[in-house]
């Protein structure tokens, strides 16, 4: 039963202005989607006040709960995952806790995800809050076969724990009674960190004189985790001690290879693991919902692999066969081949008398007949189908499961499942993915991920064109996937051996599997295609202009001639060297060049597969190269390029040798 709130619309005054006649104050906190608002509605009834937190657009809701003896003002805060704030909502929720000094804080948690919920419980205890834990959505946890021993939780955490199903009103009477009657005292920190961190906490605590509304231990932990807002607060309130606190934090940081926020999170996770072991039992149920069963299977080290391969196959059928054959054929041969190109050639020839200038716009390498044709007739249908498929995969919640699945494999190559983010993004755009490598925990991981992105992860448009080139031959596709997978793992493995270091742990929240919404998929696809074209079209046009200028000066022919040697060594026709030159501008531009060669009949069979493998491994495009310089520095970027250029041709040469030696016919 959802509760209707008779909301007074937001007024522009702060939470402090809203006086509610009450003897005590209670604040509800919790992550988004845990049923916090339903709990609040059940507690306070129909009449609530909604206002914007001062200086923000974030809403704070207040209401009143009363019985014959006592009245309580209840504040519902915006969703917060952690006291270490990332979003504006989290900052506001934290400020409410720090400024209001509530008599009680009720942490509303989603019981079925109790493991990740307890992180906030631990932080609130460390903050010295008079805390009560509300295990909401208990019915959903029970359906999944989870049995929670609330007594163990009570004893180990030292706080009252109540189980509720707010939508059905279950447990709400007990919760109301506790809010009205219980007087809770802060129970203190539930765990201790490694000695170095504990010493730093104690040193910082000694140097904090002001009051922060949360315990000094919590302030110290937030400083160690580099919370910018807390740093600013300390700078303002302790101007004389600030430098000393800064030195303590720096000293602690130097003692660890990994960031302190990472160390602290892992210690909390260890504590939570022992707690879960004692307090939570998974009895299993006969009827585990299909969704949950699928979720578990998709992360299973054995069952997860065929699921992943099945998804790749569907992607190939949709993008490679439908998008890249049916749609590209129509746009390429009918729309451009029969209408746009002949008309453009005619119009430009009649307007511009000089052949040199005509070539800028039309004929073999013109802006319209090459740049725009590549962008609209080849890339557009491919990226559109790819983005539709990607949006569906994204909306189902499969990506975090894929991260968990590949965590084991990634560990062998010096990475962990967190690296799935840049790797998956790399299949969209390697340039952006290179920037995202900065989110990885250690330098070693960042370097390995950057190298693998530059070498073995083709971008979305390139994947699309490659699928198009290989469509019709599952054997050729199989060889391509096998070679790329082997190169990825082999180079990653070698890099991990050359750069020894810690193998980082990986922890990621896995949201529930869900059906994708059509409107959402279409919106995302449109947004992505629009974004992609804004970026790609000017570059394709620029590439056409550069090729035109290169042809006038003769530079184009010289570079093509030079590139024809390595392409010849790997068994490719001389025309293929043009595609490799295009690949310098953009990876997809190069792949589109191969597509042209295939349709003209100049490239097929084994040489086609060899050229695709070589161009997929080939140099990063200009944009990715400059991003690598920015993220990893000149030396590293040039070093990587110097390795990749010959390596791509060596692999192409070996594949050509092996396939011909085995007499493979494609």
């Amino acid at each position: 039963m959802a509760v209707n709130l008779n909301r007074k619309r937001p007024q522009c005054h702060g939470a402090a202005d809203m006086e509610i006649d009450a003897q005590r104050s209670v604040v509800l906190v919790g992550s988004p989607n845990v049923g916090k608002s339903v709990v609040f509605g059940n507690l306070t009834g129909m009449y609530v006040t909604v206002s914007n937190y001062p200086g923000t657009t974030v809403e704070i809701t207040r209401g009143r709960l009363a019985d014959d003896s006592r009245a309580v003002a209840i504040t519902d805060t915006p969703g917060m995952y952690s006291l270490l704030s990332i979003t504006e909502e989290e900052r506001v929720a934290r400020r409410v806790l720090m400024e209001n000094r509530p008599d009680m804080v009720v942490h509303v948690a989603d019981t079925k995800n109790i493991e990740r919920m307890l992180h906030l419980t631990v932080q609130l205890l460390e903050a010295g809050m008079p805390l009560m834990l509300d295990l909401n959505l208990m019915d959903e946890a029970e359906r999944l076969g989870l049995r929670i021993d609330t007594k163990v939780l009570k004893e180990r955490l030292g706080i009252p724990v109540v189980a509720t199903v707010a939508t059905e009103g279950r447990g709400m009477d007990e919760l109301k009674k506790m809010i009205l009657k219980e007087d809770i005292l802060p129970s203190g920190p539930p765990l201790r960190y490694p000695e170095t961190i504990e010493n730093a906490i104690a040193d910082i605590e000694r140097n904090l004189d002001s009051s922060y509304g949360i315990s000094k231990r919590a302030v110290a932990l937030l400083l160690l985790q580099d919370d910018h807002e807390i740093w600013q607060m300390v700078r303002d309130r302790e101007p004389e001690r600030y430098a000393l606190v800064d030195a303590i934090v720096k000293h602690a940081r130097e003692r660890f290879v990994d960031p302190l926020s990472y160390i602290i999170t892992i210690e909390r996770q260890r504590f939570i693991n022992t707690l879960i072991e004692d307090a939570v039992e998974n009895v299993g149920v006969k009827g585990i919902p299909l969704r949950e069963r699928l979720s578990r299977l998709s992360m299973h080290p054995v069952a997860g692999v065929p699921i992943f391969l099945g998804i790749i196959y569907l992607l190939y059928e949709f993008v490679g066969v439908f998008g890249a054959q049916t749609a590209v054929d129509f746009l390429e041969e009918t729309v451009f081949g029969q209408y746009i190109n002949p008309v453009a050639n005619r119009i430009v020839s009649s307007i511009i008398p000089w052949k040199v200038l005509q070539d800028l716009f039309v004929n073999e390498y013109g802006i319209i007949t090459l740049g725009i044709r590549y962008a609209i007739a080849i890339i557009l249908p491919i990226v559109t189908t790819f983005f539709i498929a990607f949006s569906i995969i994204e909306d189902t919640g499969y990506l975090p499961r894929l991260a968990m699945l590949i965590d084991r494999v990634f560990k062998k190559i010096g990475l962990n499942g967190r690296a799935v983010i840049p790797v998956v993004l790399g299949f969209g755009c390697d340039t952006m993915a290179t920037m995202v490598t900065r989110t990885l925990e250690t330098r070693r991981e960042r370097v390995i991920a950057t190298l693998l992105l530059a070498l073995a992860i083709p971008c979305s448009a390139q994947v699309g064109v490659i699928l198009a080139l290989l469509s019709g031959s599952t054997k050729a596709l199989g060889i391509f996937v096998m070679v790329m997978g082997t190169v990825f793992l082999f180079v990653g493995f070698l890099a991990a051996r050359l750069m020894p270091g810690e193998r980082p742990l990986f922890y990621m929240e896995v949201p529930p599997l869900r059906w994708p919404k059509l409107s959402n998929v279409l919106t995302k696809t449109y947004t992505r295609v629009e974004w992609y074209f804004k970026e790609v079209l000017p570059l394709f046009i620029l590439a056409s202009i550069l090729i035109w200028a290169g042809r006038i000066t003769g530079l184009f022919d010289i570079v093509v001639k030079l590139l024809s040697y390595p392409t010849g060594w790997i068994g490719l026709p001389p025309e293929a060297s043009k595609a490799f030159l295009y690949g310098f501008f953009r990876r997809d531009f190069g792949a589109a060049g191969l597509y042209d060669l295939k349709t003209s009949g100049a490239l097929s069979g084994v040489p086609l597969v060899v050229s695709i493998i070589t161009i997929a491994l080939f140099m990063p495009c200009i944009a990715q190269f400059s991003m690598t310089i920015k993220e990893r520095g000149w030396k590293m970027a040039v070093g990587m390029a110097a390795f990749i250029f010959p390596f791509a041709f060596v692999v192409g040469y070996l594949v050509n040798l092996i396939l011909n030696g085995l007499g493979v016919v494609l």
């Binding site: 988004p32 967190r418 952006m432 929240e509 629009e530």
Partner: protein, 61 residues
Amino acid sequence: MKCPLCGLEFNQEDGLKGCSGCKSMGACGLIKCPNCGYEVPAESGIVKFIKRWRKKTDESK
């Protein structure tokens, strides 16, 4: 908006804060999840317009 990878709910403005230090300074049109770094393109102007128009139509009914 909700991150399609880690599920974090955040405002678009929070997603733009990750752009500091990047050469493109937000011109790439991508919104970065402040928690995991995953990127999604910012909602297109046309999509925003259609949503506003539909909301207006619904309210006037």
